[in-house]
């Protein structure tokens, strides 16, 4: 903003910048401490004089994490669940958002209000009926029991958010496409889809995170077959409230956090513009 350059006087701006950097350090500190503790040798973590550095970094904790459990498998499980949910919910939400923004039909407003209300449903409260539903369909202890509910729960928010993006594509473009002889399907996938893609990315951040982080469903639906576990449960194996293996917990936490960080950095720009666009709408 030129305004800030115009108005804010130099000392004030320097103070603002200094505090911005200080706050950034404070915000990043827990993450730094996580990685640091994962790299510290065993004796140094469990010391009553915690130091903010280590002179003898080691991968012991990571080795223990990957050795003690099928951690690689849990990682793949998590990736598979989150990936499937992101792709499936993005496609389904795209179709639904197109329907409610580019068509007028009966019950359109009712549907929109219902999507909004569906967003408010505390999914955690549905663990009990979902547990029985999964049991009746023989889905307990399968990755499907995690994938299906998460698709359902990320849809309402995704539809609500994509609405703005689909709306923003000018009507004239649609007319032009039809005049050029494009079919409805062709317009949908070859014109609308690429234009709405940034919005899909911003939306998928939310479904990715909520699925990747999911702890409650993983804990409730994967009860006996640990080969189907996802990362959050595996992590807690190292966290025993009385005597936690901090090195193991922090190494596992680091492994679990990195994919999300990578994902975030990749979509960072689109996220900021996407959120602005969706809310401005």
């Amino acid at each position: 903003m030129n305004l800030s350059r115009l108005r804010v006087r130099r000392p004030w701006r320097l103070a603002a910048e200094a505090s911005a950097l200080l706050i950034a350090v404070a915000v990043a500190f827990p993450l730094y401490w996580m990685v640091l503790s994962a790299l510290k040798p065993a004796g140094e973590i469990e010391s009553s004089e915690p130091r903010p550095w280590t002179l003898t970094p080691t991968l012991d904790s990571f080795r223990r994490v990957f050795g003690q459990q099928e951690f690689g498998r849990y990682f793949l499980n998590s990736l598979l669940v989150a990936g499937t949910v992101v792709v499936a919910s993005a496609l389904i939400a795209f179709l639904a958002a197109t329907a409610v923004t580019r068509f007028r039909f009966r019950f359109r407003t009712t549907l929109l209000i219902m999507f909004l209300m569906a967003q408010m449903v505390p999914v955690e409260a549905l663990t009990i009926p979902l547990f029985f539903l999964m049991r009746d369909f023989g889905q307990l202890n399968t990755l499907g029991s995690l994938i299906l509910p998460h698709i359902a729960f990320s849809l309402p928010f995704a539809i609500w958010m994509l609405r703005g993006f689909v709306k923003a594509v000018p009507q004239a473009l649609e007319e032009a496409a039809y005049i050029d002889g494009a079919s409805r399907t062709r317009f949908l996938w070859q014109i609308l889809f690429p234009l709405v893609f940034p919005g899909l990315v911003a939306t998928s951040v939310f479904s990715f995170i909520s699925t990747w982080n999911d702890f409650l469903f993983a804990k409730s639906f994967i009860i006996s077959d640990t080969s189907q576990s996802t990362l959050p449960m595996a992590l807690l194996v190292f966290y025993k409230p009385d005597d936690p293996d901090w090195g193991g917990v922090m190494a596992a936490s680091t492994v679990m956090t990195i994919p999300v960080l990578v994902f975030f950095v990749l979509v960072q720009r689109r996220l900021v513009s996407g959120l602005g666009g969706a809310v401005k709408d």
């Binding site: 903003m1 701006r13 911005a20 706050i23 915000v27 990043a28 827990p30 401490w33 996580m34 496609l91 389904i92 939400a93 179709l95 639904a96 329907a99 580019r102 068509f103 039909f105 209000i113 909004l116 408010m120 449903v121 505390p122 955690e124 409260a125 549905l126 663990t127 009990i128 009926p129 029985f132 539903l133 509910p149 698709i151 359902a152 729960f153 009507q171 032009a176 496409a177 039809y178 005049i179 050029d180 494009a182 690429p194 234009l195 995170i209 702890f215 807690l236 936690p244 936490s253 679990m256 956090t257 999300v260 960080l261 975030f264 960072q268 900021v272 959120l275 602005g276 809310v279 401005k280």
Partner: protein, 320 residues
């Protein structure tokens, strides 16, 4: 933005008759009445099966006698009417948990919004490099999964090995032992991982406000606070409504942080919130019907929040 492929070449003048509708309603197209429903079908099937039906089941179970005996088929399920609710409302612990949930969620929402908005304004006051650094740090906190965030904050505040007690000189003071300090610790973690959403969204909103408006206010001698209160806040109202409602919904439903950080609800359940309470009732003590009744109570509270949201949207005159 790439041009639609395949549209080049001779323009085929095959104007579709169905596009020849009046200007007034360009969106409606005759002969395509079923198309929107076709597009909606996958979403409706998924939502119907995995959201609407479970909500119905939740309501149903809350009216039944449903414990381990009924689950295993040993005893028939019996209709209880409002019996479960009567039991729940007669339980002092339920009211304590309800009050704790509301107060805790309110604390989280207010702190998250205050921190998020303040930092969004700060972001507009600094040059590109500090802005990027703060943005990246915030994205890191946002990206951290709730489980790992919880364990890291526990380590930071650990009485024996944590750096915080060391720096503050608190010795081996245990943060999770007392009820309020345990809630405060969870609140810190929740604010840490949820302020970035508010910050990024509000920042994007401020960027969208035309510079001239702010300049005019500044030229008229308005203070920073005055500009925020009288110019930015009203213009950002739609965005503020969205982030407030989202925060209310998220913070009211906090589960993982409480579960991990207070080890399932704290000493003697002192840190229970409704979500964890319902989980403990259902899956730890097999009282599925009581757990469902708690779920219904949560559902109704959030439904009320939704209605307020819809009201606010209506008042803004937004067309759905």
């Amino acid at each position: 933005m790439s041009a639609p492929s395949g549209s080049g070449g001779a323009v085929r003048l095959r104007v579709r008759r169905r596009r020849g509708l009046s200007r007034g309603s360009p969106r409606s197209s005759r002969g395509a009445l079923s198309t929107p429903w076709l597009y909606l079908a996958p979403a409706l099937v998924v939502l119907g099966g995995l959201l609407v039906y479970p909500v119905y089941q939740l309501g149903l179970i809350s009216f039944l006698e449903y414990t381990q005996a009924q689950v295993s088929g040993g005893e028939p399920t019996t209709f209880q009417g409002f019996g479960n609710y009567a039991e729940l409302f007669g339980d002092a612990q339920f009211w304590r948990v309800l009050v704790a949930t509301v107060v805790f969620a309110a604390g989280c929402v207010v702190s998250t919004l205050a921190v998020g908005c303040a930092l969004a304004v700060l972001l507009t006051r600094v040059r590109a490099v500090p802005r990027l650094v703060l943005m990246l740090a915030a994205l890191g906190a946002w990206a951290t999964p709730a489980v790992t965030g919880s364990t890291v904050w526990l380590l930071l505040f650990d009485p024996d090995f944590g750096p915080v007690n060391r720096v503050l000189g608190l010795g081996d003071h245990s943060w999770t032992y007392g009820r309020y300090s345990a809630f405060a610790l969870v609140l810190l973690e929740v604010v840490w991982c949820s302020f970035p959403f508010v910050m990024v969204t509000v920042y994007a909103g401020i960027r969208a406000v035309p510079g001239e408006v702010l300049e005019a206010a500044a030229l008229d001698g308005a203070s920073q606070w005055r500009i925020w209160r009288s110019v930015l806040a009203p213009m950002l109202r739609p965005i503020l409504v969205v982030v407030t409602i989202q925060s209310v919904i998220w913070d009211f439903k906090v589960f993982t942080q409480i579960y991990v950080m207070t080890n399932g609800g704290g000493i003697a359940g002192q840190n229970l919130v409704l979500n964890v309470y319902a989980y403990q009732k259902a899956f730890a003590s097999s009282q599925y019907s009581l757990g469902s009744a708690i779920g219904v109570v949560m559902l109704l509270i959030l439904l009320a929040v939704t209605l307020v949201h819809l009201r606010l949207l209506r008042r803004q005159g937004e067309e759905l």
